[in-house]
């Protein structure tokens, strides 16, 4: 693949296909979208094969100077590569998931999704600060339209909330970026990752970046846009939101906050741990009382993102690797859970948990796959969820035992709400006649969910395939942070002298 500008192709191909979609009829638009995203997936698979784990830090690099402080600079390291693979993997699934459920203004819908595809790939590939920002923020426009045009009843409010919330967070980051460029004189992300800002400047820059990434991730207490957006978005929109858009915030922490502002990251670690702990426990409790399936999964997403921030700001190898695996795993699992909801929503057109029940009788295949994803969400060993959460909590324990305590509480709570959801929907007796009459998964739906289930099991059984490409990159981050990484409270400390019981016994004699 040498010499081929594969990243530019991955961005240009969906853009081009999206424009073509606007000029054809609904069925043709579906096929164009599906084929172009499948072509993207094939290219992505090729990239994964061609990527040399442990090779040069940045691979597939491209560089084209457009203007003084704006370059078309692309390239990926292992972290970006895997997140890009996640995007390319979920995209054809999203298109397929919308095959039947979207009947209204199909060409525009497909064009919006393909635009989204291009922008997401661009975010992970960008090596120029402003190019990154353009891709990062650009995703707002198609998502605003996807929620607002094809969403549920309350879609307008949700789309506004989504746009303005994230826009507000990001503009502060823009000012920080401008400041960074004017002090360091470069817009290259790799160069900035090695640039040392003075610690007092780092504090402000870190906070500005937090404003953006915390909203995007989302962290408690700025997560309130997410349940609305998730619930109102069409199924495929929810998949993209949960699977990829949320990862942008975490990716930002990995790419910017940790390596560029290590001092500030260490300084704010207690804040991050507190917020993550609250997010995990509080949103899990909120998820427990939801009556709407999508809302439950949306809140569980916020809780799972708590594991990501825990792991990242533990600033040790287990923590960061765990956080990255949680990101990949959550991308797959929450995406799959939204598809699972979408499958029965397409049949009954309600998201009320109380309307279902006993689906394991009439939809055994569905119940099986749902079980796999439920277990992955709970973090059962053998699924991807376990690997990520275990590593992330191990790392957290090194940094803070209290943090790990909050995190493990969250795991128990996640078992509570997920198993409760599964029980209510799949076991017992059907509560409505319509629910009892629903047919099992169609071939198309097997194609949606089957590949994700396989990926989830693969990541759970042999996580090394995913850890290997990222190992060196995590090492680079650790090099930047090890100077300031917190010592933690779990290390063995010299305690009091043991009581001399034997001597005491001798004295009695």
């Amino acid at each position: 693949m040498s010499g081929l500008p594969v990243l530019t192709i991955l961005i240009a191909l969906p853009l081009f296909a999206g424009v073509v979609c606007l000029f054809v009829n609904a069925q043709a638009a579906r096929w164009i979208a599906l084929l172009s995203t499948l072509a993207g997936l094939a290219l992505g698979a090729g990239m994964w094969v061609a990527f040399v784990a442990g090779g040069p830090r940045w691979q597939f690099t491209e560089h084209l100077a457009l203007a003084g402080n704006f370059t078309w600079a692309l390239g990926v390291d292992g972290i970006a590569l895997l997140l890009m693979e996640l995007t390319l993997f979920l995209m054809p699934i999203c298109i397929l998931a919308s095959w039947r459920s979207i009947q209204h203004r199909v060409p525009e819908y497909m064009a919006a999704f393909l635009l989204m595809d291009a922008l997401m790939v661009g975010v992970f590939a960008a090596q120029d600060l402003f190019l990154f920002y353009v891709f990062f923020e650009g995703s707002l426009i198609p998502m605003y339209l996807i929620i607002g045009v094809w969403g549920g009843v309350e879609r307008i409010k949700a789309s506004y909330k989504f746009f303005l919330y994230t826009f507000l967070g990001s503009v502060l980051m823009l000012i920080a970026m401008l400041y960074m460029v004017s002090t360091s004189g470069t817009t290259s992300i790799p160069a900035l990752m090695a640039y040392d800002f003075p610690p007092e400047v780092q504090t402000w820059l870190w906070l500005a970046f937090l404003a953006s990434f915390a909203v995007k991730l989302p962290m408690w207490p700025v997560h309130t846009w997410l349940p609305d957006a998730h619930v109102q978005a069409p199924t495929a929109g929810s998949v993209i939101l949960a699977g990829i858009l949320l990862k942008l915030g975490a990716y930002g922490f990995v790419r910017f906050s940790l390596p560029m502002f290590p001092d500030a990251s260490a300084q704010f670690m207690p804040l991050m741990f507190t917020l993550s702990g609250i997010a995990i426990v509080y949103t899990s409790l909120v998820a427990l009382v939801q009556k709407d399936m999508k809302k439950l999964i949306a809140y569980s997403s916020v809780a799972h993102m708590g594991f990501v921030t825990f792991g990242l700001f533990a600033m040790n190898r287990q923590g960061i690797e765990g956080a990255l695996i949680v990101m990949l795993s959550h991308g797959l699992v929450s995406g799959a859970l939204f598809l699972i909801v979408g499958v029965i929503y397409d049949r009954m057109h309600t998201r009320e948990i109380a309307a279902y029940g006993g689906l394991s009788n009439n939809m055994p295949g569905y119940a099986l796959l749902f079980m796999v994803f439920t277990m992955a969400a709970v973090g059962l060993p053998g699924t991807s969820g376990f690997v990520g959460e275990f590593l992330s909590l191990t790392g957290t324990y090194h940094a803070s035992t209290w943090g790990a305590l909050a995190g493990t509480t969250g795991i128990i709570l996640s078992a509570c709400y997920m198993l409760w959801l599964y029980w209510q929907i799949c076991f017992g007796q059907a509560r409505t006649k319509e629910a009892a009459a629903m047919p099992d998964l169609s071939v198309r739906e097997w194609w949606l969910l089957g590949p994700i289930a396989l990926a989830v099991l693969w990541m759970g059984v042999y996580p090394e395939s995913f850890l290997a490409p990222m190992r060196n990159d995590v090492g680079y981050i650790l090099q930047r942070t090890e100077r300031v990484a917190p010592a933690g409270d779990s290390l063995p400390t010299p305690g009091k002298q043991p009581l001399k019981i034997l001597d005491a016994g001798a004295a009695h004699k």
Binding site: L22, N69, G148
Partner: protein, 478 residues
């Protein structure tokens, strides 16, 4: 003779306008099409005459004007947008107005006035240019004299504009009285010598800036804008929001940097306050509007604020940022007004109510798409080009150490994003309203397409050329 070589564009426009005025008077209304195309041709010729112009011809006519790179940049923005304003009126005044002929002529005269404004290096020529523009504008605002709203707009504009001219003139007289000179270089020397400790100089500065702030409708001198923009015929509103605004801001930049450069600390606080007030009031004022022209009026107030942020940064870098911003702003605004111009009901009568835009994406997808591009771009949402223009002015502010100003300004951008989104929401997320009449104006369609292409991500290819042009133009200021 060399003096005249420096003012070839103005000569073309002036002589052409006088000839066309005669033609308009004698040819009757049948000739209106020919006259407007002739006016467009003159403006294009004047723009072409700028090619290869000396980047710094120095002061001519005893320091009254300077045909330098800065002036050329301004004219390159002003002449084409005036030409578009002429094109936009095509087929507009023919119905219901007996004298469609004079419209292009008035635009030509105001173009001459604007071109003097951006080249002026003397307060006297500055005032003459400004008044030439203003007189033409007053007539243009009330061009549909039988329409109450248009007449009201003209009257309002005239009364308030005359007041502002008075303020400006008073400031000029104060400065002249205390320094004994009207040239920008002389003023700069006086300010460098005496600072702003002299109360007379300080007053002169404040009055001068207030007069300019009125002309560019910066808050707190913006009150006339929504009413005049709403009342004036749509092509005239589009014209007001683009070329004169660009000329006014450029004139302000030259005054601030060239004449008041040594007093930067004195005017910076004024500009900062005006910028922030404009951004926030422009953003908040537009919230409840359902009239598209009023909305775009507030949008123009909002955008002036962003341009002023670049000016507040000061120096050549700030001036360059303002030039970049204005160039992009003019393109976005012309595009948005072209879309608003095409809002016609089934009988071809213009509609200004935004409710009629409902579901436009289904009845007229291309028009809705273009409108959405302009709205997102005005909101400063990447990947559209309007984002980069905002980035450039904020970059200038941050580099000058004005980080709090940049933060406050960018928060205002978020508030403003709300109403731009509202337009997109109406077009894309509501059930279709009765379809518009299909406007058959290929020239306007072509301009709209060109504007949309410029502000689309394809515009990023222009960052290099436009940035270096703006840098070079700003470099000739000092």
């Amino acid at each position: 003779m060399t003096y005249f070589a420096a003012i070839v564009p103005e000569l073309i426009l002036t002589i052409g306008a006088i000839v066309l005025m005669m033609a308009a008077a004698f040819a009757g209304r049948r000739a209106s099409g020919a006259i407007s195309w002739a006016a467009v041709a003159l403006l294009v010729a004047a723009t072409v005459a700028l090619i290869g112009a000396p980047t710094h011809a120095g002061p001519v006519f005893g320091g009254l004007i300077a045909a330098d790179g800065f002036a050329s940049f301004g004219k390159v923005v002003i002449f084409p947008s005036a030409a578009v304003a002429v094109l936009m009126a095509h087929g507009w005044f023919e119905r219901g107005t007996e004298h469609a002929n004079e419209y292009p002529v008035l635009i030509l005269f105001s173009a001459v006035g604007m071109s003097v404004m951006v080249s002026a290096t003397n307060l006297m020529s500055l005032y003459v240019g400004l008044e030439l523009l203003s007189l033409a504008s007053y007539v243009l605002a009330s061009y549909r004299r039988t329409d109450d709203r248009s007449a009201e707009a003209g009257l309002k504009y005239f009364v308030l504009g005359a007041l502002a001219s008075g303020i400006l003139l008073y400031g000029i007289s104060l400065l002249y009285g205390f320094t004994g000179t009207m040239t920008f270089t002389g003023l700069a020397a006086a300010f460098a010598r005496e600072g702003v400790h002299s109360l007379g100089l300080l007053f002169g500065l404040v009055f001068l800036l207030s007069g300019i702030a009125f002309k560019i409708s910066a808050v707190p001198f913006h009150m006339w804008t929504p009413d005049v923009y709403e009342g004036a015929p749509t092509p005239v509103t589009a014209f007001f929001a683009t070329a004169p605004k660009a000329a006014g801001i450029l004139m302000g930049v030259r005054v601030c940097v060239e004449a008041l450069g040594p007093a930067t600390d004195a005017w910076r606080q004024i500009i900062v306050v005006a910028a922030l007030l404009s951004i926030f009031l422009g953003a908040v004022g537009a919230w409840g509007q359902m009239n598209i022209k009023r909305l775009l009026a507030y949008s123009s107030i909002n955008n002036v604020g962003f341009a002023l942020i670049g000016l507040a940064a000061g120096g050549a870098a700030g001036a360059s940022a303002v030039l970049f911003y204005i160039a992009v702003y003019v393109v976005m605004t012309l595009g948005a007004f072209l879309c608003a111009l095409w809002m016609r009901d089934a009988n071809g009568e213009p509609i200004e109510d935004m409710a009629s835009l409902a579901g436009l994406s289904q009845t007229r997808p291309a028009l809705a798409g273009a409108f959405a591009i302009f709205m997102f771009s005005l909101a400063g949402a990447p990947p559209l080009f309007g984002f980069w223009a905002k980035l450039v002015v904020f970059d200038a502010a941050v580099s000058a150490g004005l980080v709090p100003l940049a933060v406050a300004g960018i928060l205002g951008a978020v508030i403003g994003a709300y109403y731009y989104l509202k337009v997109v929401k109406i077009m894309y997320m509501e059930e279709p309203a009765p379809a518009y009449m299909r406007v058959r104006e290929p020239a306007q369609g072509l301009v709209m397409f060109a504007c949309a292409l410029l502000v689309s991500p394809a515009g990023y290819l222009l960052i290099g050329p436009l940035g270096s042009l703006a840098d070079r133009a700003a470099g000739t200021l000092l």
